[in-house]
């Protein structure tokens, strides 16, 4: 088995060899591995060899064993060289040669890079943001929902959900009313947190702090905040922001539906810190007002609540630090208010529901 002319090559790591590995020839046979003369290492039998897929991008076959002088490894990067070994690894086949799905996806990503450059070249130099938007628009909705679910599961364990808060049922009802017919599976929760805040995660997990509920004087005000948050989801603002921040490589993977659990968890963590752009905020205001009108809820509650927060107190409430309030923004919202339409007041006894101060 020694004289394999194919000359499969790999990097050999062993005590006494260069720490960066010795490029060596090797051959694989029924008995085990043997190495070229440059390695001056005795053959090893399969019985002591462990195989795994390894390396930075999981593309190498790493064979490890403990020799008489210490731990050794043969790292095989070349596909043809790997193929000479794989038949002998049947016992370990599942670990060593199963091609993970990610590999297929990566090839797809690489395939895209062949097709895209011409398009990208033209667009990227002038229109980088539009490329990102292009990618975001193509992220399948079920990918987004799946990610959202995993991220929400992560959030649940960290948030003090307070779903039997006296106003929680009202929040759920208002949310349902505002998301009627939506393609997202929305969930609305109250969280025990005194800060005046609310947030929505891509996919439809919406949270309102108990502090915000206490601060609102009517159900319309809460509905206004919910409508705004819901639109951040509907308009994919968070998703867009994340892809912008992470770059096109991640965007392309999301387009291909490539998501993993640890990713979702990290995603959830970072959503809280995400800030929306000014144009996204006014977009959420505008579409939020439209959603309120569609749901037959008086939209003036939205502006009233934001104005009230901006006016009151010296400390800026959390909601305003993530949703910068400006007179300009309020004025824009005001212009959207229907002049000649009457709304029935929502039938909630808010001062009673919101609990004691």
């Amino acid at each position: 088995m020694a004289g394999d002319e194919a000359g499969a090559r790999a990097l050999l790591y062993a005590p006494g060899l260069p720490p960066t590995g010795l490029p060596t020839s090797f051959s694989a046979g029924a008995d085990g591995l043997s190495f070229g003369p440059e390695a001056s290492l005795a053959p090893v039998t399969w019985a002591i060899v462990r195989a795994r897929r390894g390396g930075f991008d999981r593309s190498t076959l790493t064979l490890e064993w403990t020799g008489t002088t210490g731990d050794c490894a043969l790292v095989i990067a070349d596909a043809a060289a790997r193929a000479t070994v794989e038949p002998w690894l049947r016992g370990l086949a599942s670990a060593a040669s199963a091609t993970p799905r990610t590999k297929r996806v990566s090839s797809l990503v690489l395939g895209l890079t062949i097709g895209l450059p011409v398009l990208l070249l033209v667009l990227l130099l002038s229109q980088a943001n539009r490329i990102i938007d292009w990618a975001v628009d193509r992220i399948p909705i079920d990918t987004e929902i799946r990610l959202g679910h995993e991220a929400a599961a992560e959030q649940r364990s960290r948030l003090a959900l307070w779903d039997d808060h006296p106003a929680a049922a009202a929040v759920r009802e208002l949310g349902k009313r505002l998301t009627h017919g939506s393609r997202y599976p929305f969930e609305f929760h109250v969280v025990r947190d005194p800060s005046v805040n609310a947030f929505a995660m891509p996919g439809g997990f919406v949270v309102v702090n108990s502090g915000l509920i206490e601060r609102a004087d009517s159900a319309e005000e809460v509905a206004g905040v919910l409508a705004h948050e819901v639109q951040h989801v509907e308009r994919r603002h968070g998703l867009r922001g994340l892809v912008h921040a992470a770059g096109l490589g991640v965007g392309l993977r999301l387009v291909l539906g490539e998501v993993g659990g640890s990713f979702a968890a990290s995603w959830a963590e970072n959503l809280e810190g995400l800030r929306f752009s000014r144009s996204q905020e006014s977009d959420a205001d505008r579409t939020g007002v439209a959603a309120l009108i569609r749901a037959d809820i008086d939209p003036r509650g939205m502006g009233r609540f934001f104005r009230k927060l901006a006016r009151e107190g010296s400390a800026v409430p959390a909601l305003l630090s993530s949703h910068p309030a400006s007179e300009e923004r309020f004025a824009t919202v005001d212009t959207l208010m229907p002049k000649d339409r009457k709304f029935e007041p929502l039938n909630y006894d808010w001062p009673n529901l919101r609990g004691s101060h």
């Binding site: 960066t20 930075f56 990610t102 890079t113 993993g260």
Partner: protein, 269 residues
């Protein structure tokens, strides 16, 4: 295959590398890192990395596509000695640290370094990318997601910020490192992203929330001062920067040096 170049590194903490080219030899460098070049050298900006394998249009496009993904500029500058004598060209490190010469032949033909760490190489060294296939790594260890891949048998140079540490990992040996501090590694080393501690608190400190878990065998290089860390300290110490910061996000730090930064940020920072 790659040109055999001679070099000398000058300086202690702010280094530059001077490369001596025989007639007909050439070096490739990132635009913006060149310090000086002698008369007789011609400077060519080429599409892709100018390596010999890049024959057809398709492979050039593939190379360019990969460079797009890493945020590198699409064009590489080649410095060719067209004269009849030896000529020198020098490339300078962009911030305090050490220049590391990498003999790719001795390293097994391939080496991975952080995207912005690559300084220059002998002509014939192919610049590519290596993907970390686990998505989490890409998203949050932005620095580790896509590494610059140096392929060939010639010399290449990378730059490490601060003090340089070279570690040889034995087979199976584990080491946890800050993703930003890992400046280069052999592709034989396993790489996994792990996150440690509460993100919420770490989000405001900005450091150390993601570790790369490395598993030998192979040689790795660590830098004590990743540029992103230096930059964030400088940024934090700068006088109040206007009121509004809503366009940015907590993820902004991860985006630095990313695709858009690389393409739109110009090359002369």
């Amino acid at each position: 295959m790659a040109d055999v170049i001679d070099y000398e590194i000058f300086g202690n903490e702010m280094q530059y590398v001077e490369i001596e080219l025989d007639p007909g030899e050439a070096a490739i460098g990132e635009a913006g890192s060149m310090m000086y070049m002698q008369d007789g050298l011609t400077l060519d900006t080429v599409f892709g990395d100018g390596s010999a394998q890049q024959g057809g249009l398709m492979s050039k496009l593939l190379g360019a596509g990969k460079r797009l993904l890493t945020g590198e500029s699409l064009f590489t500058t080649i410095y060719t000695n067209q004269s009849s004598g030896k000529r020198r060209v020098a490339f300078a490190a962009p911030y305090p640290g050490k220049i590391v010469p990498l003999d790719l032949a001795a390293l097994g033909g391939t080496f991975l370094c952080q995207k912005d760490a690559f300084l220059c190489a002998a002509r014939g060294v192919a610049l590519g990318i290596a993907f970390q296939r686990k998505l989490g790594a890409g998203f949050f260890g932005g620095e580790g997601f896509i590494m610059q891949k140096l392929d060939g048998d010639g010399l290449a140079f990378m730059h490490a910020g601060g003090t340089l540490l070279k570690r040889d990992l034995a087979p199976g040996e584990l080491l946890r490192v800050d993703t930003g501090c890992l400046v280069g590694l052999q592709p034989s080393v396993d790489y996994d992203i792990e996150y440690v501690g509460k993100i919420k608190t770490a989000m405001f400190g900005g450091e150390g929330l993601f570790f790369a878990t490395l598993r030998g065998p192979g040689t790795i290089y660590l830098q004590s001062l990743p540029f992103s860390r230096l930059a964030s300290r400088v940024f934090a110490a700068a006088p109040q920067r206007g009121g509004s910061r809503e366009e940015g996000s907590m993820l902004g730090g991860f985006a630095a040096g990313g695709l858009l930064g690389g393409l739109l940020g110009g090359d002369d920072e």
